[in-house]
Amino acid sequence: MPYALREALSAFRRTPLLTALSVIAIAFALFVIGLFGLTAFNIRRAIEKVEEKVEIVAYLTDEMTAAQLQTSRAEIAALPQVAEVRHVTKMEALATAMAEMQEFKDVFSDLENNPLPASFEVSMKPGSRSPEQVERVAKRIQAYPFVEDVRYGRDWLNTIFMLRRIAGGVAMVIGGAFALVAAIVIATAVRITVFARREEIGIMRLVGATDGFVQSPFLLEGLMSGLLGGLLAAVLTWGSYRVLGSTMFQVEWLPSQWIVLTVLAGTGFGLISSLVAVRRHLGQV
């Protein structure tokens, strides 16, 4: 077994509590971020599903001429965010209303004049369904004099987007706090190991071991803690997903690349934390 690996493993044996703490701290930091990932991913999926239905409905006045209809329809369809413009005539609107609201069927058929306005139903292209884009298109349509009113799910769209932002912000703050704790624990572990092995390190330097060689067991230890922390975080996130799925509501599991990324993030974090700590503390030996 190479020297660095042997020493890194013996550090695990020598200070098991500290090593466990490092692993747990990294795991919690990544678990929080993993939970956010799970939430964010599911919110995104929900938004995508809702977004597919995102439509702007522009109600048109009865005074609109056929020429205006043609021109405005072409103009709206030409907007880069717009996928399709459907013209719903007064008659179609009435038919739909009658079909959808059976209990008012008689009321509708007794009417002398059709009170329902004609409308444009504008669907948006994927990627152009953010509240800002929808609002921009809606405003553009609103500008036509023959458009009476424009409706789109502005409020709930904003709410969902805000929810996602809040979840992201909270996860970053909590995840960041755990990451800080993890970095401090790793630095302490490195410091204690450097102190416990100061004689050995002194001799290594005396006989001509390179800095890289002296540092390697510490870096490997950090890397292994990070790897274990990342794996633990993935397991914890998966556990939460299962519990959530069986007790509250159905959620979707994360794509496998996200899991690989979580484990890699843990490994990288462990490595960088120990690199910073080892550079700092080895200088004092």
């Binding site: 004689e199 050995e200 005396l206 006989v207 001509g208 390179t210 800095d211 002296v214």
Partner: protein, 230 residues
């Protein structure tokens, strides 16, 4: 092999440790570096290892100059130097052979070459039978022999010894010095700091350099040269 030229060393707190020290040690020489405690002996050894750099002047050791050396070159210099201390500096939780193997292992020696080389070194210092003993199970003299074996592990060009007999009784000290003589007779350059004047006087055949308050006050080689001239 070792050249100190007009070397000054000052420390911010304790002041001047070395003052205009010029010392050349040639290949194959055994030199006693003597003087009272605080005279600057350990400072000279530290500068040769480039554990510290001079405030002024230059230290040259086997091609490396204190004025030019880079941090990453220092390990390469150290591999050309074997160092022995008064307090042995052995790892207590490892056996004699493991202590010696450690020096080889951490400098990247091939695994297959380590065991035979350790055995040879243990035999050279007369401790083949104590290979499996930990430092606590060895006498002072034996510990110092293990330390010498470790110092020789990487086949250095120079052996630096800082009071190597300081913690030993007279007999053990004699034994360790005999080992030094043996190693020197095979061509190894040795610079040995000591305040054991009895030992120095018992061996007038070796060069003596005396330091006092950071300056060289006596050099038997220079004195001999002077005597020749007169």
């Amino acid at each position: 092999m070792i050249r100190l030229t007009s070397v000054y060393k000052e420390y911010p707190r304790s002041g001047t440790a070395l003052r205009d020290v010029t010392l050349h040690v040639n290949k194959g020489e055994l030199v006693f570096l003597t003087g009272h405690s605080g005279a600057g002996k350990s400072t000279v050894l530290g500068l040769i290892q480039m554990a510290d750099l001079p405030t002024a002047g230059e230290v040259r050791v086997s091609g490396f100059s204190s004025n030019l050396i880079r941090r990453r070159e220092i390990p390469l210099l150290r591999r050309k130097l074997g160092v022995v201390f008064q307090d042995f500096r052995l790892l207590r939780d490892r056996t004699a052979e493991e202590n010696i193997a450690f020096a080889l292992e951490v400098t990247g020696a091939k695994r297959s070459t380590i065991a035979p080389r350790v055995n040879r070194l243990l035999a050279q210092v007369g401790l083949a039978h104590k290979a499996r003993a930990c430092p606590d199970e060895l006498s002072g003299g034996e510990r110092q022999r293990v330390a010498v074996a470790r110092a020789l592990a990487n086949e250095p060009l120079v052996l630096l010894a800082d009071e190597p007999t300081g913690n030993l009784d007279e007999w053990a000290a004699k034994g360790v010095f005999e080992l030094f003589r043996e190693i020197n007779s095979m061509g190894m350059t040795i610079l040995m700091a000591t305040h054991d004047l009895a030992l120095v006087r018992a061996h007038p055949e070796y060069r003596v350099v005396e330091l006092a308050q950071g300056s060289i006050v006596y050099d038997s080689a220079a004195a001999a040269l002077e005597a020749e001239r007169v």
